[in-house]
């Protein structure tokens, strides 16, 4: 609910062109993060493991990484406006997490060692968090770039950083996400042994993960090798994460290993 309030407040900040240091929005997201962290801790302690074992928990963990990063970055008043971009994303994904069927009861799969499962899941979810923030930076880039192109006054009034810096932020977050995703996938492939008769190559989630990995790799190569920066790169960051968001749950439900 607090994420929702923050998202509604963000609409006003968008309309004002981010001209205020929005302490209110930061406060709302801080409050939401406190509730969120408490709930995650309670759940983790009650099941005695890191709460990333089903889709609902994975989604909440992803949200938590985004909000935690924002709260750290937002300590610098000039970057507090980032909440206006993060809040709608947090709210939408949060609502999605409440969909029926995501919070299934689970039991430990005996063939996996818990530590590696937790690390595999945590690394991959952290990578989605980095990709999410990269798409937030991409949205900021597109907003500012549009305002500069069309000579809107709010381009100058806004607290958004220069577009060149935003492009750098998109790239760095994407590299971070890519490294985390690669590490998570490697751990999954090398350390987690599947039972007899089950193959990674039959699992839709594995196919999907490789596709996501390839998409981000392509974006990074385009950026580094072919100087495809700016608007196309920002659209790429936003588009790829949108693809992850829209297909993540469906693919998980289809995957016998991950579901």
């Amino acid at each position: 609910m607090v994420y929702g309030l923050s998202a509604i407040y963000s609409v006003f900040l968008w309309r004002k062109g981010f001209r205020q240091h929005d302490r209110v929005n930061y406060g709302l997201l801080l409050l939401a993060a406190i509730f969120h962290t408490t709930a995650m801790f309670k759940r983790g302690f009650s099941f005695d493991r890191c709460p990333v074992n089903n889709l609902y928990e994975a989604t909440l963990f992803l949200l938590w990484t985004i909000v935690a990063t924002y709260l750290v970055v937002g300590l610098w008043p000039r970057l507090r406006f980032l909440g206006a971009f993060a809040a709608p994303l947090l709210f939408c994904v949060g609502v999605f997490a409440l969909m029926p069927g995501l919070d299934n009861s689970y039991g430990a799969r005996p063939e996996f060692k818990h530590d590696w499962v937790s690390l595999h899941a945590a690394l991959i979810l952290l990578s989605y968090g980095a990709f999410g923030l990269s798409s937030v930076a991409g949205l900021m880039y597109l907003t500012q770039e549009h305002d500069l192109k069309f000579r809107k006054m709010r381009a100058i009034f806004s607290l958004l950083p220069p577009i060149q810096r935003l492009e750098l932020v998109i790239g760095r977050l994407m590299v971070t996400g890519f490294v985390l995703l690669t590490a998570g996938l490697v751990i999954g492939a090398v350390r987690l042994k599947l039972p007899e008769g089950v193959s990674y190559f039959d699992d839709p989630k594995v196919h999907w993960s490789i596709l996501v990995w390839l998409l981000y790799l392509a974006l990074l190569i385009m950026n580094w090798g072919f100087a495809q920066g700016g608007r196309r790169f920002a659209w790429g960051a936003v588009g790829c994460f949108l693809f992850v968001l829209l297909t993540f749950w469906g693919v998980n439900l289809m995957s016998p290993i991950h579901h």
Binding site: L148, K149, R151, I156, F157, L160, P162, Q164, R165, A227
Partner: protein
């Protein structure tokens, strides 16, 4: 002992008149001494800038005779014999103190909200203070004026934004580039506005300036002034690869830079952002180039519109500023009596 102000400013008089009454800085202590020794003022500060000449005085004389004496002093000092109607204004309390606060805040300035005047006012006050021509009344009023100016600067938008074409260009550059200190600027056509814009960029740390002009001599002269490098007009495209900001102001009747010419140049630049500032009339840069990715084109009208918008915003802030000033003047002139003070005694500013 009330504070009075007499003077003339850009609101009331042309520069031809203001310059007659202006005080050279070296002559101000002597003038202040004369004001006090003649009994015209007990305390005095003289503010003399290109836009105003004002005497702030605290005097025991009645307002009417004080103004008469101060006016005679000014006219005699300026050796002016022509007619004077409303060019010289006289202000007594509370308008005099209100005026001082407005001047300090830049509300009375030609460029609304500018901050240079505050420095000039501080300097004028320091000069009078050093030579012991101020006392309790003016000290308190000036100190308060400086505080109010600080409060207005931080609490309102009166000083926000740029109101000149050059500074708007700098702001735009700062919204595009992470930092200006490693940016390369090219000036095509050595005009006055392009020079000012280039100077504004240099003052914010732009790394180098390349000047290209049809007359190579003029390019060289401007490059020398700006600490940059001159190139022949035909060579500007070959230097384009490392350029981040272009200021164009040639007298060419056609486009100097069009989409067909810029597109391959952008590839050479690896699509790094490029800010194009076209201040020429007729325009030097084809508007179509703005459709190219990573190219941001602003012509003189766009820049002026932004500057005008800023000015409009500043004007909208005047009402807020004046309300704050009125409140501060009220507090200064009628401070609340401290508890326990006998009702008959007065410790009021300017009237103790």
């Amino acid at each position: 002992m009330p504070i009075v102000v007499i003077g003339l400013s850009h609101h009331t008089s042309p520069v031809e008149l203001r310059e007659r009454f202006a005080f050279a800085e070296a002559k101000i202590p002597e003038a202040l001494q004369k004001l006090r020794s003649n009994g015209v003022a007990d305390e005095a500060v003289i503010l003399s800038t290109c836009n105003r000449v004002e005497i702030y005085a605290a005097t025991t004389n009645a307002d009417h005779s004080a103004f008469q004496a101060l006016r005679q002093f000014l006219v005699a000092r300026g050796d002016y014999e022509g007619p004077l109607n409303d060019e010289i204004y006289n202000l007594s309390e509370p308008q005099s103190v209100e005026h001082l606060f407005k001047v300090a805040c830049g509300i009375d300035s030609m460029v609304l909200g500018e901050t240079e005047i505050l420095g000039q006012l501080k300097k004028a006050y320091d000069l009078a203070l050093q030579h012991k021509h101020t006392g309790g009344r003016l000290n308190k009023a000036f100190q308060r004026a400086f505080n109010v100016a600080k409060q207005i600067r931080t609490g309102t938008n009166i000083q926000r934004g740029s109101v000149s074409v050059g500074s708007v260009a700098v702001e735009l550059a700062e919204k595009i580039f992470s930092a200006l200190h490693d940016r390369h600027v090219m000036v095509i056509g050595a005009g006055d506005t392009s020079e000012k814009t280039a100077r504004a960029l240099l003052s914010r740390g732009a790394q180098s300036i390349i000047v290209s002009n049809r007359s190579y001599d003029r390019a060289e002269a401007l490059a020398r002034d700006l600490g940059g490098r001159a190139i022949h007009f035909e060579e500007w495209a070959s230097e384009f690869q490392k350029i981040d900001i272009v200021i164009s102001s040639t007298a060419a009747p056609h486009y100097v830079l069009d989409r067909a010419k810029l597109e391959p140049l952008m590839k050479l630049r690896k699509n790094r952002p490029l800010l194009l500032i076209d201040i020429a009339v007729p325009r030097d840069i084809e508007p179509e180039v703005n459709f190219l990715e990573n190219v941001y084109l602003y012509n003189i009208d766009h820049l002026q519109a932004i500057a005008d918008d800023y000015l409009k915003q500043r004007r909208e802030e005047i009402v807020r500023c004046e309300a704050i000033i009125r409140e501060k003047v009220k507090v200064l002139l009628n401070p609340e009596q401290p508890p326990g003070l006998a009702s008959g005694s007065r410790a009021v500013f300017g009237h103790e």
